[in-house]
């Protein structure tokens, strides 16, 4: 097996909150990520699934090196992201592309699409100035848009078109890894289907490693071979997509699947309550408060992510038995 392209070693991210008033200065800690362990091989497609507040976006920020880990290490290849020198940092920026959640907001409204796509090529000096125009045309055609759009401004494009431009821009520097944050959220189903098909095709034909953040298990299963489910800053279950969908072992994964709207099943509110605050986490399992099958041991012992069956890991003292 090759060395992983990305490894997260017990990564933690805490934010300090100041106490209220000047007498009560004891800082409280918000743990956005707590002991996340993850390995990505070249060509992997991984979905990070979880509800708001689960730490998905923080995890991506750490993987992009936008924020340091409070504890643990984020490795790109063999190198710790926190220790990259200027030259390595530049290479990292070229090899790891990011697609923002708000595609329109991530583009300068006063730049034409052609310039937006040319910027990364120029920045990383990937080709001669005279060849840039051809490359930009090739990029826009690769995401299924007409070259005529190149002279437009982001404001003139539809929601589906702007997402495609965001994908094209991510591809511009010929990255090895693409990280994408909710890149199809809020699109109409038929446009969403187009963008999903495009992403899937690109990953398959170019062998790009993809990390896709989503709250939608359906989207995750369509796009990715592996799924990691996050809850309150921790991975509670991860494994091959098929296994996660068919035989979820963690009660939270099962609840997410049950709440997913389906044509052939009645509506089911599978969980009560809401995701608790990541400030002052309870001792024991952090899901215990909402778990339908929590036992007293769950409130005492914090389960760690351990290997289960075929390539799957689960963090639960009493995993759901197979049916």
């Amino acid at each position: 097996m090759q060395a992983p392209i990305f490894s997260l070693l017990d990564v933690e991210r805490t934010y300090e909150l100041r106490g209220r008033g000047w007498l009560n200065r004891t800082p409280r800690k918000l743990k956005a990520l707590d002991g996340v362990r993850l390995e990505l091989q070249r060509g992997d497609t991984l979905a990070l699934v979880g509800e708001s507040g689960s730490g998905k976006s923080t995890l991506i920020r750490l993987m992009l090196g936008l924020e340091p880990a409070s504890d643990g290490r984020v490795l790109y290849g063999q190198r710790d992201l926190a220790q990259l020198d200027a030259e390595e940092r530049k290479r990292f920026a070229r090899e790891v592309a990011f697609i923002y959640q708000n595609a329109r907001g991530s583009m300068n409204p006063r730049m034409r699409i052609a310039d937006i796509l040319a910027e990364p090529i120029r920045l990383h000096r990937l080709c001669e100035e005279s060849a840039i125009a051809d490359r930009v045309v090739a990029l826009i055609e690769r995401v299924g848009l007409p070259a005529g759009l190149l002279q437009r401004f982001p404001g003139e494009l539809s929601g589906g078109q702007i997402r495609r431009v965001a994908i094209a821009r991510a591809l511009a520097a010929e990255p090895r890894v693409i990280l994408a944050d909710e890149s199809v959220a809020g699109l109409d189903v038929s446009v969403q289907a187009q963008v999903l098909n495009l992403l899937r095709e690109l990953c398959r034909e170019s062998g790009i490693t993809l990390v896709f953040i989503t709250h939608d298990l359906g989207v995750a299963s369509y796009l990715c071979d592996r799924i990691a489910v996050l809850y309150l800053g921790r991975i509670v279950e991860q494994g091959p997509t098929e296994a996660i969908l068919n035989t979820p072992r963690h009660p939270y994964t099962r609840a997410l699947l049950q709440a997913f709207p389906r044509f052939d099943m009645p509506l089911k509110a599978s969980l009560s309550g809401e995701i608790p605050s990541p400030v002052d986490l309870p001792k024991g399992c952090r899901f215990a408060g909402r778990c339908p099958q929590a036992q007293s041991a769950c409130r005492e012992t914090d389960p760690v992510l351990t290997a289960h069956d075929a390539g799957r890991q689960v963090a639960c003292l009493f995993p759901v038995a197979s049916v």
Partner: protein, 330 residues
């Protein structure tokens, strides 16, 4: 003066039989030259839930806004009829509409954070319709507001009465909006994408809550949704809209399990289900409002379109227990 809400003689006769709670007949809405809604017809029986489904620009929200009198002349031109409990809504005055809104017709919007007023406590906002429509005293309003918060599953309602919206989570804010919408026991609840801003587990909770409360009050509900599978789960009937027209309407188990209109079929094949292997997007896009095709509006994107489709508009026909507007139904 409650004349506007009282039954006309004609409607009173109807009420004796099986009168629909809401009847939309050949309703069109224009903005200048653009025909935003084109000949929409629908009927909703008491106790029924109806889902309006379609992509952005289909006119789902526009229809909902017209039903509650938030889109009216002179900004838009209305034609045809909207009857609620026998009252013609298209000719109601603003003051008369105000007596319906929040009273007989409850409203739930997509974005609770935007719909709630940040300057008032949630207790005050729940109490407002109780004061305006029911004229309850201050003490009674507070009691009733606490009871309503309890009924929508807000823990410790008495403590939360004095909370401002920003102090509550998105799910809790949505519950507050449901409490406001249901405060006066409305006969019709209009919910415009009530859960699309929420996580799936919260979405299931909120939808279950809305359905429970609607059934308890024996009210009817119209949901504007973009999620077809959710529509199948919560609606008795489904109306699929495309470019301002209803293309297929009927019992949700029929329309969604075995769609007849090519657009409904196309939509369904785009839906990401758990473990979907292939998604087949509908080619092309919704035409702009000022350049609608003359015949069937879906014809330019339809895999089955023929010459007649581009020339004449198909009218809804009854087929297999539903209404379908297509020249070539199998």
């Amino acid at each position: 003066m409650d004349a506007a809400v009282a039954l006309t003689p004609e409607a009173a006769d109807q009420a004796a039989g099986q009168a629909p709670l809401l009847e939309v007949r050949d309703f069109s809405l224009r903005r200048g030259k653009a025909v935003v809604l084109d000949g929409v017809s629908l009927a909703l029986q008491p106790g029924e839930t109806l889902g309006l489904i379609g992509e952005s620009g289909a006119g789902k929200s526009t229809l909902a806004m017209a039903l509650i009198g938030l889109l009216r002349a002179p900004e838009v031109q209305l034609e045809g009829s909207l009857r609620f409990r026998g009252t013609e809504l298209t000719s109601l005055k603003e003051a008369e509409f105000r007596r319906l809104r929040g009273n007989k017709i409850g409203l739930i919007f997509q974005d609770a954070t935007a719909a709630l007023n940040p300057c008032f406590t949630v207790g005050e906002q729940i109490a407002e319709p109780l004061k305006r429509h029911l004229g309850l005293s201050k003490w009674d309003r507070r009691e009733r507001a606490a009871a309503l918060m309890q009924s929508v599953g807000i823990p410790e309602p008495r403590l939360r009465l004095d909370a401002y919206p920003h102090e509550l989570s998105g799910g809790m804010q949505q519950r507050v909006m449901i409490a406001i919408a249901l405060a006066c026991n409305p006969e019709l609840l209009l919910a415009d994408e009530p859960t699309s801003a929420l996580d799936v587990t919260i979405q299931a909770q909120i939808m279950e809550l809305i359905l429970d409360r609607v059934r308890e009050l024996n009210s009817s509900a119209i949901f504007v949704l973009h999620d077809l599978a959710l529509g199948a789960q919560v609606c008795d009937r489904i109306a699929v809209m495309y470019a301002g027209q209803i293309v297929e309407e009927g019992p949700s188990e029929r329309v969604l399990a075995a769609p007849l209109h090519p657009y409904t079929r196309g939509l369904k094949s785009c839906v990401v289900e758990l473990g979907s292997r292939t998604l087949v997007p509908i080619p092309g896009q919704v035409p702009p409002l000022d350049a609608m095709p003359a015949g069937c509006r879906f014809a330019p994107r339809c895999p089955k379109a023929q010459a007649v489709c581009g020339e004449r508009r198909p009218l809804p026909e009854t087929r297999d227990g539903r209404q379908v507007a297509c020249w070539f139904i199998d």
